[in-house]
Amino acid sequence: MSWFTRMFTSTIGQKLIVALTGLFLSTFLVVHMVGNLQLFKDDQGMSFNLYSVFMTSNPLIKTVSYILYLSILFHAFKGLHLAYKNLKARPVGYAVVNGKANSHWTSRSMGVLGTIILVFIVVHMNDFWAEYKFGHIPYVQYEENLQTGEIKSKPYIDEAGNPKTIAKKVEETIISKDGIDYKLTITKDLYAEVAEAFNNPLLVLLYVIAMFAVGFHLFHGFKSGFQTLGLNHPRYNPAIQFLSTWVFAVIIPAGFAAMPLYFLLIK
Protein backbone atom coordinates (compact mmCIF):
# COMPACT_ATOMS: atom_id res chain seq x y z
CA MET A 1 0.00 0.00 0.00
CA SER A 2 1.43 3.39 -0.94
CA TRP A 3 1.56 6.14 1.68
CA PHE A 4 -1.14 7.96 -0.25
CA THR A 5 -3.57 5.04 -0.08
CA ARG A 6 -2.65 4.43 3.53
CA MET A 7 -3.29 8.04 4.44
CA PHE A 8 -6.64 8.39 2.68
CA THR A 9 -7.97 5.05 3.91
CA SER A 10 -7.16 5.90 7.54
CA THR A 11 -9.95 7.47 9.59
CA ILE A 12 -8.01 10.72 9.94
CA GLY A 13 -7.23 10.86 6.21
CA GLN A 14 -10.85 10.26 5.27
CA LYS A 15 -11.95 12.96 7.67
CA LEU A 16 -9.38 15.25 6.07
CA ILE A 17 -11.21 14.85 2.76
CA VAL A 18 -14.51 15.74 4.42
CA ALA A 19 -12.95 18.73 6.20
CA LEU A 20 -11.13 20.19 3.20
CA THR A 21 -14.10 19.82 0.84
CA GLY A 22 -16.44 21.15 3.54
CA LEU A 23 -14.36 24.27 4.15
CA PHE A 24 -14.10 24.84 0.40
CA LEU A 25 -17.89 24.55 0.11
CA SER A 26 -18.20 27.09 2.94
CA THR A 27 -16.15 29.65 1.01
CA PHE A 28 -18.33 28.96 -2.02
CA LEU A 29 -21.43 29.81 0.03
CA VAL A 30 -20.02 33.25 0.80
CA VAL A 31 -19.47 34.00 -2.90
CA HIS A 32 -22.82 32.49 -3.91
CA MET A 33 -24.73 34.50 -1.29
CA VAL A 34 -23.01 37.82 -1.98
CA GLY A 35 -23.43 37.38 -5.76
CA ASN A 36 -27.08 36.48 -5.46
CA LEU A 37 -27.79 39.62 -3.42
CA GLN A 38 -28.19 41.16 -6.90
CA LEU A 39 -31.63 39.52 -6.95
CA PHE A 40 -32.72 42.30 -4.60
CA LYS A 41 -31.60 45.00 -7.06
CA ASP A 42 -34.53 46.87 -8.60
CA ASP A 43 -33.39 46.68 -12.23
CA GLN A 44 -35.71 43.99 -13.60
CA GLY A 45 -32.96 41.47 -13.06
CA MET A 46 -30.41 42.90 -15.45
CA SER A 47 -27.40 42.77 -13.14
CA PHE A 48 -28.38 39.31 -11.90
CA ASN A 49 -28.73 38.02 -15.46
CA LEU A 50 -25.39 39.53 -16.50
CA TYR A 51 -23.81 38.04 -13.38
CA SER A 52 -25.19 34.63 -14.44
CA VAL A 53 -23.51 35.04 -17.82
CA PHE A 54 -20.22 35.93 -16.13
CA MET A 55 -20.42 33.00 -13.73
CA THR A 56 -21.05 30.52 -16.55
CA SER A 57 -18.48 31.84 -19.02
CA ASN A 58 -15.42 33.03 -17.10
CA PRO A 59 -12.80 30.24 -17.51
CA LEU A 60 -11.45 30.58 -13.96
CA ILE A 61 -14.92 30.38 -12.45
CA LYS A 62 -15.83 27.47 -14.72
CA THR A 63 -12.74 25.58 -13.55
CA VAL A 64 -13.52 26.28 -9.91
CA SER A 65 -17.12 25.22 -10.44
CA TYR A 66 -16.01 21.76 -11.58
CA ILE A 67 -13.88 21.46 -8.45
CA LEU A 68 -16.99 22.54 -6.57
CA TYR A 69 -19.19 19.79 -8.07
CA LEU A 70 -16.52 17.21 -7.22
CA SER A 71 -16.28 18.62 -3.70
CA ILE A 72 -20.01 18.29 -3.17
CA LEU A 73 -19.88 14.65 -4.26
CA PHE A 74 -16.78 13.81 -2.21
CA HIS A 75 -18.06 15.64 0.87
CA ALA A 76 -21.51 14.06 0.75
CA PHE A 77 -20.51 10.50 -0.05
CA LYS A 78 -17.38 10.37 2.11
CA GLY A 79 -19.43 11.84 4.96
CA LEU A 80 -22.19 9.28 4.54
CA HIS A 81 -19.64 6.48 4.18
CA LEU A 82 -17.96 7.48 7.45
CA ALA A 83 -21.34 7.82 9.17
CA TYR A 84 -22.11 4.25 8.08
CA LYS A 85 -18.75 3.00 9.36
CA ASN A 86 -19.31 4.83 12.64
CA LEU A 87 -22.63 3.03 13.08
CA LYS A 88 -20.77 -0.25 12.69
CA ALA A 89 -18.32 0.79 15.42
CA ARG A 90 -21.22 0.36 17.87
CA PRO A 91 -23.48 -2.43 16.61
CA VAL A 92 -25.31 -2.82 19.94
CA GLY A 93 -26.58 0.56 21.06
CA TYR A 94 -27.31 1.89 24.53
CA ALA A 95 -30.80 1.69 26.01
CA VAL A 96 -30.36 5.17 27.49
CA VAL A 97 -28.18 7.90 25.97
CA ASN A 98 -28.01 11.35 27.49
CA GLY A 99 -26.34 13.07 24.56
CA LYS A 100 -27.32 16.60 25.48
CA ALA A 101 -25.30 16.28 28.68
CA ASN A 102 -22.06 16.23 26.75
CA SER A 103 -22.51 17.62 23.23
CA HIS A 104 -24.54 19.97 21.04
CA TRP A 105 -27.33 18.33 19.03
CA THR A 106 -26.01 19.77 15.76
CA SER A 107 -22.74 17.90 16.19
CA ARG A 108 -24.66 14.64 16.60
CA SER A 109 -26.94 15.29 13.59
CA MET A 110 -24.48 16.13 10.81
CA GLY A 111 -25.53 13.14 8.68
CA VAL A 112 -29.23 14.01 8.81
CA LEU A 113 -28.64 17.74 8.26
CA GLY A 114 -26.24 16.97 5.42
CA THR A 115 -28.73 14.64 3.76
CA ILE A 116 -31.41 17.36 3.83
CA ILE A 117 -28.89 19.70 2.20
CA LEU A 118 -27.96 17.10 -0.42
CA VAL A 119 -31.63 16.65 -1.40
CA PHE A 120 -31.94 20.42 -1.55
CA ILE A 121 -28.88 20.75 -3.79
CA VAL A 122 -30.33 18.22 -6.24
CA VAL A 123 -33.64 20.11 -6.43
CA HIS A 124 -31.89 23.48 -6.57
CA MET A 125 -29.45 22.54 -9.33
CA ASN A 126 -32.21 20.86 -11.31
CA ASP A 127 -34.37 23.99 -11.08
CA PHE A 128 -31.78 26.59 -12.02
CA TRP A 129 -28.37 25.22 -12.97
CA ALA A 130 -29.64 22.49 -15.33
CA GLU A 131 -32.39 24.78 -16.63
CA TYR A 132 -29.86 27.51 -17.44
CA LYS A 133 -27.39 25.14 -19.06
CA PHE A 134 -29.63 22.67 -20.85
CA GLY A 135 -33.19 24.04 -20.61
CA HIS A 136 -34.95 26.62 -22.70
CA ILE A 137 -34.88 29.85 -20.77
CA PRO A 138 -36.43 32.69 -22.81
CA TYR A 139 -34.27 35.70 -23.63
CA VAL A 140 -34.93 39.20 -22.43
CA GLN A 141 -33.96 42.52 -23.93
CA TYR A 142 -32.98 45.43 -21.68
CA GLU A 143 -32.88 49.02 -22.84
CA GLU A 144 -30.80 51.15 -20.51
CA ASN A 145 -30.96 54.91 -20.87
CA LEU A 146 -27.32 55.85 -20.43
CA GLN A 147 -28.24 59.42 -19.48
CA THR A 148 -30.81 58.74 -16.75
CA GLY A 149 -29.87 55.15 -15.92
CA GLU A 150 -33.49 54.08 -16.39
CA ILE A 151 -33.89 50.45 -17.46
CA LYS A 152 -36.76 49.00 -19.45
CA SER A 153 -37.10 45.33 -20.29
CA LYS A 154 -39.18 43.37 -22.74
CA PRO A 155 -39.26 39.74 -23.86
CA TYR A 156 -36.96 39.02 -26.81
CA ILE A 157 -39.56 37.78 -29.33
CA ASP A 158 -40.31 38.11 -33.01
CA GLU A 159 -43.37 39.82 -34.51
CA ALA A 160 -45.44 36.64 -34.21
CA GLY A 161 -44.64 36.47 -30.48
CA ASN A 162 -42.30 33.48 -30.72
CA PRO A 163 -39.22 33.58 -28.49
CA LYS A 164 -36.00 34.44 -30.32
CA THR A 165 -32.52 33.31 -29.34
CA ILE A 166 -29.03 34.59 -29.94
CA ALA A 167 -25.91 32.57 -30.63
CA LYS A 168 -23.92 34.15 -27.81
CA LYS A 169 -24.79 34.21 -24.13
CA VAL A 170 -25.12 37.96 -24.15
CA GLU A 171 -25.26 40.65 -26.80
CA GLU A 172 -24.69 44.29 -26.00
CA THR A 173 -25.13 47.19 -28.45
CA ILE A 174 -25.25 50.96 -28.08
CA ILE A 175 -27.89 52.81 -30.09
CA SER A 176 -28.86 56.47 -30.34
CA LYS A 177 -32.42 57.70 -30.30
CA ASP A 178 -33.27 61.42 -30.23
CA GLY A 179 -29.73 62.30 -29.20
CA ILE A 180 -29.78 59.95 -26.20
CA ASP A 181 -27.59 56.87 -26.02
CA TYR A 182 -29.21 53.59 -25.06
CA LYS A 183 -27.51 50.32 -24.26
CA LEU A 184 -29.38 47.27 -25.51
CA THR A 185 -28.64 44.03 -23.72
CA ILE A 186 -30.02 40.68 -24.77
CA THR A 187 -29.50 37.67 -22.50
CA LYS A 188 -31.18 34.65 -20.91
CA ASP A 189 -33.73 35.73 -18.32
CA LEU A 190 -32.78 33.56 -15.35
CA TYR A 191 -34.16 36.26 -13.09
CA ALA A 192 -37.70 35.66 -14.42
CA GLU A 193 -37.15 31.94 -13.92
CA VAL A 194 -36.17 32.56 -10.29
CA ALA A 195 -39.14 34.90 -9.71
CA GLU A 196 -41.52 32.34 -11.17
CA ALA A 197 -40.08 29.41 -9.19
CA PHE A 198 -40.32 31.31 -5.90
CA ASN A 199 -44.01 31.96 -6.42
CA ASN A 200 -44.51 28.36 -5.37
CA PRO A 201 -44.93 28.36 -1.56
CA LEU A 202 -43.94 24.68 -1.30
CA LEU A 203 -40.62 25.31 -3.02
CA VAL A 204 -40.02 28.35 -0.82
CA LEU A 205 -40.73 26.21 2.23
CA LEU A 206 -38.17 23.64 1.04
CA TYR A 207 -35.63 26.42 0.60
CA VAL A 208 -36.25 27.86 4.06
CA ILE A 209 -36.03 24.41 5.70
CA ALA A 210 -32.84 23.69 3.77
CA MET A 211 -31.32 26.97 4.94
CA PHE A 212 -32.03 26.04 8.56
CA ALA A 213 -30.25 22.76 7.82
CA VAL A 214 -27.32 24.66 6.29
CA GLY A 215 -27.10 26.92 9.33
CA PHE A 216 -27.14 24.07 11.84
CA HIS A 217 -24.78 21.96 9.69
CA LEU A 218 -22.23 24.77 9.50
CA PHE A 219 -22.64 25.80 13.14
CA HIS A 220 -20.78 22.59 13.94
CA GLY A 221 -19.19 21.83 10.58
CA PHE A 222 -17.12 24.95 10.03
CA LYS A 223 -15.27 24.79 13.35
CA SER A 224 -15.12 20.99 13.19
CA GLY A 225 -13.27 21.26 9.88
CA PHE A 226 -10.51 23.29 11.49
CA GLN A 227 -10.20 20.82 14.36
CA THR A 228 -9.79 17.96 11.84
CA LEU A 229 -7.03 19.91 10.09
CA GLY A 230 -5.36 20.17 13.50
CA LEU A 231 -5.99 23.91 13.75
CA ASN A 232 -6.96 24.43 17.36
CA HIS A 233 -5.26 27.20 19.27
CA PRO A 234 -6.46 29.71 21.87
CA ARG A 235 -5.13 32.49 19.63
CA TYR A 236 -7.51 31.92 16.75
CA ASN A 237 -10.21 29.65 18.21
CA PRO A 238 -12.41 32.67 19.08
CA ALA A 239 -12.26 33.85 15.46
CA ILE A 240 -13.22 30.38 14.15
CA GLN A 241 -16.02 30.20 16.71
CA PHE A 242 -17.29 33.63 15.68
CA LEU A 243 -17.24 32.80 11.95
CA SER A 244 -18.93 29.43 12.63
CA THR A 245 -21.76 30.96 14.59
CA TRP A 246 -22.43 34.38 13.15
CA VAL A 247 -21.28 34.20 9.55
CA PHE A 248 -21.97 30.59 8.63
CA ALA A 249 -24.85 29.65 10.93
CA VAL A 250 -26.71 32.97 10.87
CA ILE A 251 -25.83 35.54 8.18
CA ILE A 252 -25.27 33.21 5.21
CA PRO A 253 -28.41 31.05 5.67
CA ALA A 254 -30.52 34.09 6.57
CA GLY A 255 -29.33 35.88 3.41
CA PHE A 256 -30.15 32.87 1.26
CA ALA A 257 -33.55 32.31 2.90
CA ALA A 258 -34.43 35.98 2.37
CA MET A 259 -34.26 35.51 -1.44
CA PRO A 260 -37.19 33.08 -1.94
CA LEU A 261 -39.17 34.85 0.80
CA TYR A 262 -38.62 38.18 -0.99
CA PHE A 263 -40.09 36.85 -4.23
CA LEU A 264 -42.98 35.07 -2.50
CA LEU A 265 -44.02 37.81 -0.11
CA ILE A 266 -42.81 41.15 -1.49
CA LYS A 267 -42.20 40.93 -5.21
Binding site: R6, A89, N102, Q227
Partner: protein, 254 residues
Protein backbone atom coordinates in the same frame (compact mmCIF):
# COMPACT_ATOMS: atom_id res chain seq x y z
CA UNK B 1 -31.27 4.07 59.03
CA UNK B 2 -32.88 7.42 58.29
CA UNK B 3 -31.70 9.16 55.15
CA UNK B 4 -30.98 5.86 53.43
CA UNK B 5 -32.23 5.31 49.91
CA UNK B 6 -34.31 2.76 48.11
CA UNK B 7 -33.50 2.49 44.43
CA UNK B 8 -34.39 0.42 41.39
CA UNK B 9 -31.47 -0.78 39.30
CA UNK B 10 -31.87 -1.86 35.69
CA UNK B 11 -28.65 -3.73 35.02
CA UNK B 12 -27.39 -5.28 31.79
CA UNK B 13 -26.83 -9.00 32.29
CA UNK B 14 -24.94 -10.99 29.70
CA UNK B 15 -23.39 -14.43 30.35
CA UNK B 16 -20.54 -14.09 27.86
CA UNK B 17 -19.61 -12.29 24.66
CA UNK B 18 -21.79 -14.54 22.52
CA UNK B 19 -24.87 -14.24 24.74
CA UNK B 20 -27.53 -11.78 23.55
CA UNK B 21 -27.92 -10.29 27.02
CA UNK B 22 -30.86 -8.45 28.60
CA UNK B 23 -31.74 -6.04 31.36
CA UNK B 24 -32.60 -7.35 34.84
CA UNK B 25 -34.36 -5.17 37.37
CA UNK B 26 -33.13 -5.22 40.97
CA UNK B 27 -34.66 -3.20 43.79
CA UNK B 28 -31.99 -2.23 46.33
CA UNK B 29 -32.90 -1.01 49.82
CA UNK B 30 -31.24 0.91 52.64
CA UNK B 31 -28.48 2.35 50.51
CA UNK B 32 -26.42 4.95 52.37
CA UNK B 33 -25.96 8.21 50.44
CA UNK B 34 -22.28 8.03 51.42
CA UNK B 35 -21.70 4.75 49.63
CA UNK B 36 -19.90 4.82 46.31
CA UNK B 37 -21.72 3.50 43.26
CA UNK B 38 -19.52 0.40 43.32
CA UNK B 39 -20.21 -0.20 47.03
CA UNK B 40 -23.89 -0.15 46.18
CA UNK B 41 -23.15 -2.90 43.64
CA UNK B 42 -21.22 -4.80 46.33
CA UNK B 43 -24.36 -4.72 48.49
CA UNK B 44 -26.43 -6.00 45.58
CA UNK B 45 -23.90 -8.75 44.82
CA UNK B 46 -23.76 -9.89 48.47
CA UNK B 47 -27.51 -10.32 48.32
CA UNK B 48 -27.40 -12.15 44.99
CA UNK B 49 -24.72 -14.52 46.35
CA UNK B 50 -26.79 -15.17 49.50
CA UNK B 51 -29.75 -15.96 47.27
CA UNK B 52 -27.58 -18.39 45.34
CA UNK B 53 -27.69 -16.23 42.19
CA UNK B 54 -24.93 -15.11 39.89
CA UNK B 55 -23.46 -11.76 41.04
CA UNK B 56 -23.13 -8.89 38.57
CA UNK B 57 -19.67 -8.84 37.00
CA UNK B 58 -18.12 -5.38 36.86
CA UNK B 59 -14.59 -4.04 36.55
CA UNK B 60 -12.94 -2.23 39.45
CA UNK B 61 -9.56 -2.04 41.08
CA UNK B 62 -8.17 0.92 43.03
CA UNK B 63 -11.54 2.52 43.85
CA UNK B 64 -9.84 5.88 44.24
CA UNK B 65 -10.28 7.18 40.71
CA UNK B 66 -6.81 6.59 39.31
CA UNK B 67 -6.63 3.10 37.82
CA UNK B 68 -9.18 3.36 35.01
CA UNK B 69 -10.78 -0.02 35.60
CA UNK B 70 -14.35 0.91 36.51
CA UNK B 71 -16.51 1.36 33.47
CA UNK B 72 -20.23 1.68 33.96
CA UNK B 73 -22.55 3.56 31.60
CA UNK B 74 -25.02 5.07 34.07
CA UNK B 75 -28.30 6.70 32.96
CA UNK B 76 -26.91 7.40 29.51
CA UNK B 77 -23.51 8.73 30.56
CA UNK B 78 -20.15 7.02 31.19
CA UNK B 79 -19.23 7.18 34.89
CA UNK B 80 -22.63 8.65 35.65
CA UNK B 81 -23.94 12.19 36.11
CA UNK B 82 -20.92 13.95 37.63
CA UNK B 83 -18.09 15.59 35.73
CA UNK B 84 -14.47 14.67 36.28
CA UNK B 85 -15.02 11.51 38.32
CA UNK B 86 -14.92 7.80 37.71
CA UNK B 87 -17.74 5.45 38.74
CA UNK B 88 -15.90 4.48 41.94
CA UNK B 89 -15.82 8.14 43.00
CA UNK B 90 -19.51 8.62 42.23
CA UNK B 91 -21.49 8.56 45.47
CA UNK B 92 -25.10 7.65 45.99
CA UNK B 93 -25.83 11.19 47.22
CA UNK B 94 -25.77 12.13 43.52
CA UNK B 95 -29.07 10.23 43.19
CA UNK B 96 -32.43 10.63 44.87
CA UNK B 97 -34.43 8.17 46.91
CA UNK B 98 -36.74 6.22 44.58
CA UNK B 99 -34.66 6.77 41.42
CA UNK B 100 -34.46 4.13 38.72
CA UNK B 101 -30.87 3.83 37.51
CA UNK B 102 -30.00 2.16 34.20
CA UNK B 103 -26.52 0.61 34.14
CA UNK B 104 -24.98 -0.65 30.88
CA UNK B 105 -21.52 -1.74 29.79
CA UNK B 106 -19.36 0.38 27.43
CA UNK B 107 -20.71 -0.28 23.93
CA UNK B 108 -18.23 -0.57 21.06
CA UNK B 109 -17.17 -3.11 18.46
CA UNK B 110 -13.63 -2.73 19.81
CA UNK B 111 -14.78 -3.36 23.42
CA UNK B 112 -16.61 -6.72 23.36
CA UNK B 113 -18.58 -7.54 26.50
CA UNK B 114 -16.87 -10.23 28.58
CA UNK B 115 -19.67 -10.60 31.09
CA UNK B 116 -22.44 -8.29 32.34
CA UNK B 117 -20.81 -4.86 32.78
CA UNK B 118 -17.21 -5.94 32.19
CA UNK B 119 -15.82 -5.28 28.71
CA UNK B 120 -12.55 -6.26 27.06
CA UNK B 121 -10.49 -3.10 26.66
CA UNK B 122 -7.31 -4.81 25.44
CA UNK B 123 -7.75 -2.88 22.16
CA UNK B 124 -6.28 0.05 24.11
CA UNK B 125 -3.30 -2.07 25.14
CA UNK B 126 -2.65 -2.99 21.51
CA UNK B 127 -2.77 0.69 20.52
CA UNK B 128 -0.16 1.42 23.21
CA UNK B 129 1.99 -1.54 22.09
CA UNK B 130 1.93 -0.16 18.56
CA UNK B 131 3.90 2.92 19.57
CA UNK B 132 2.81 4.48 22.85
CA UNK B 133 6.29 4.38 24.37
CA UNK B 134 9.79 5.73 23.94
CA UNK B 135 12.69 3.40 23.25
CA UNK B 136 15.58 4.05 25.62
CA UNK B 137 18.68 2.07 26.38
CA UNK B 138 18.81 0.67 29.88
CA UNK B 139 21.29 2.07 32.34
CA UNK B 140 21.39 4.88 34.80
CA UNK B 141 18.85 7.64 34.34
CA UNK B 142 20.62 10.76 33.17
CA UNK B 143 20.54 13.94 35.15
CA UNK B 144 17.08 15.45 34.90
CA UNK B 145 18.42 18.92 34.15
CA UNK B 146 20.37 17.75 31.12
CA UNK B 147 17.20 17.83 29.00
CA UNK B 148 15.60 21.26 29.18
CA UNK B 149 11.78 21.15 28.98
CA UNK B 150 9.74 24.36 28.99
CA UNK B 151 7.30 24.46 31.91
CA UNK B 152 4.26 24.91 29.62
CA UNK B 153 5.22 21.83 27.61
CA UNK B 154 5.83 19.80 30.75
CA UNK B 155 2.41 20.83 32.08
CA UNK B 156 0.63 20.02 28.79
CA UNK B 157 2.43 16.66 28.55
CA UNK B 158 1.48 15.88 32.12
CA UNK B 159 -2.14 16.87 31.52
CA UNK B 160 -2.23 14.44 28.56
CA UNK B 161 -0.54 11.75 30.64
CA UNK B 162 -3.27 11.89 33.29
CA UNK B 163 -5.41 9.75 30.93
CA UNK B 164 -6.18 6.56 32.84
CA UNK B 165 -7.35 4.65 29.76
CA UNK B 166 -10.80 3.90 31.19
CA UNK B 167 -12.50 4.13 27.79
CA UNK B 168 -15.19 6.65 28.80
CA UNK B 169 -14.29 8.66 25.67
CA UNK B 170 -15.13 5.68 23.46
CA UNK B 171 -18.27 4.96 25.49
CA UNK B 172 -19.48 8.57 25.29
CA UNK B 173 -18.68 9.07 21.60
CA UNK B 174 -21.63 8.49 19.29
CA UNK B 175 -19.11 6.93 16.86
CA UNK B 176 -17.28 4.86 19.49
CA UNK B 177 -14.13 6.69 18.46
CA UNK B 178 -10.94 6.34 20.49
CA UNK B 179 -9.40 9.60 19.28
CA UNK B 180 -9.23 11.25 22.72
CA UNK B 181 -7.42 8.29 24.27
CA UNK B 182 -5.00 7.81 21.38
CA UNK B 183 -4.33 11.54 21.07
CA UNK B 184 -3.55 11.82 24.79
CA UNK B 185 -1.08 8.96 24.49
CA UNK B 186 0.47 10.51 21.37
CA UNK B 187 0.62 13.98 22.93
CA UNK B 188 2.29 13.01 26.19
CA UNK B 189 5.39 12.11 24.16
CA UNK B 190 5.00 14.58 21.28
CA UNK B 191 5.29 17.45 23.75
CA UNK B 192 8.57 16.27 25.27
CA UNK B 193 12.11 16.10 23.85
CA UNK B 194 12.33 12.39 24.69
CA UNK B 195 9.39 11.70 22.40
CA UNK B 196 10.81 13.37 19.29
CA UNK B 197 12.94 10.48 17.98
CA UNK B 198 9.92 8.26 17.31
CA UNK B 199 7.32 11.02 16.95
CA UNK B 200 6.29 10.34 13.34
CA UNK B 201 6.49 6.58 13.53
CA UNK B 202 4.52 6.62 16.78
CA UNK B 203 1.53 8.55 15.50
CA UNK B 204 1.38 6.55 12.26
CA UNK B 205 1.50 3.20 14.04
CA UNK B 206 -0.91 4.11 16.82
CA UNK B 207 -3.52 5.53 14.41
CA UNK B 208 -3.17 2.47 12.17
CA UNK B 209 -3.75 0.19 15.17
CA UNK B 210 -6.67 2.34 16.36
CA UNK B 211 -8.31 1.93 12.93
CA UNK B 212 -7.56 -1.81 12.86
CA UNK B 213 -9.36 -2.26 16.20
CA UNK B 214 -12.62 -1.01 14.66
CA UNK B 215 -13.05 2.25 16.55
CA UNK B 216 -15.17 4.85 14.75
CA UNK B 217 -13.93 8.16 13.38
CA UNK B 218 -14.05 11.46 15.22
CA UNK B 219 -16.79 13.98 14.39
CA UNK B 220 -15.60 16.53 16.94
CA UNK B 221 -18.77 16.43 19.02
CA UNK B 222 -16.71 17.00 22.17
CA UNK B 223 -18.64 14.35 24.14
CA UNK B 224 -15.37 12.60 25.04
CA UNK B 225 -13.83 15.70 26.60
CA UNK B 226 -17.03 16.46 28.53
CA UNK B 227 -17.23 12.93 29.95
CA UNK B 228 -13.52 12.29 30.53
CA UNK B 229 -12.92 11.77 34.26
CA UNK B 230 -9.48 13.35 33.83
CA UNK B 231 -10.59 16.26 31.64
CA UNK B 232 -8.32 15.37 28.71
CA UNK B 233 -8.57 18.24 26.22
CA UNK B 234 -9.75 18.13 22.60
CA UNK B 235 -6.61 20.08 21.73
CA UNK B 236 -4.80 16.73 21.97
CA UNK B 237 -6.95 15.45 19.09
CA UNK B 238 -5.98 18.49 17.02
CA UNK B 239 -2.31 17.85 17.83
CA UNK B 240 -2.63 14.22 16.76
CA UNK B 241 -4.37 15.27 13.51
CA UNK B 242 -1.52 17.72 12.84
CA UNK B 243 1.13 15.13 13.67
CA UNK B 244 -0.57 12.43 11.62
CA UNK B 245 -1.00 14.59 8.50
CA UNK B 246 2.52 15.97 8.89
CA UNK B 247 4.00 12.51 9.37
CA UNK B 248 2.20 11.08 6.33
CA UNK B 249 3.47 13.95 4.19
CA UNK B 250 7.04 14.01 5.43
CA UNK B 251 8.06 10.64 6.89
CA UNK B 252 11.24 9.10 5.50
CA UNK B 253 9.62 5.69 5.37
CA UNK B 254 8.13 4.55 2.07
Amino acid sequence: MSGNMNLTLKVWRQKNKDDRGKFETYPVQHISPDMSFLEMFDVLNERLINEGKDPVAFDHDCREGICGMCSMFINGRPHGPLQGVTTCQLHMRSFRNGDTIVVEPWRATAFPVIKDLAVDRSAFDRVISAGGFISVNTGNAQDANSIPVPKDDADAAFAAATCIGCGACVAACKNASAMLFVSAKVSQFALLPQGQAERQERVLSMVAQMDAEGFGSCTNTGACEAECPKGISLSNIARMNRDYIGAQLSTQKA
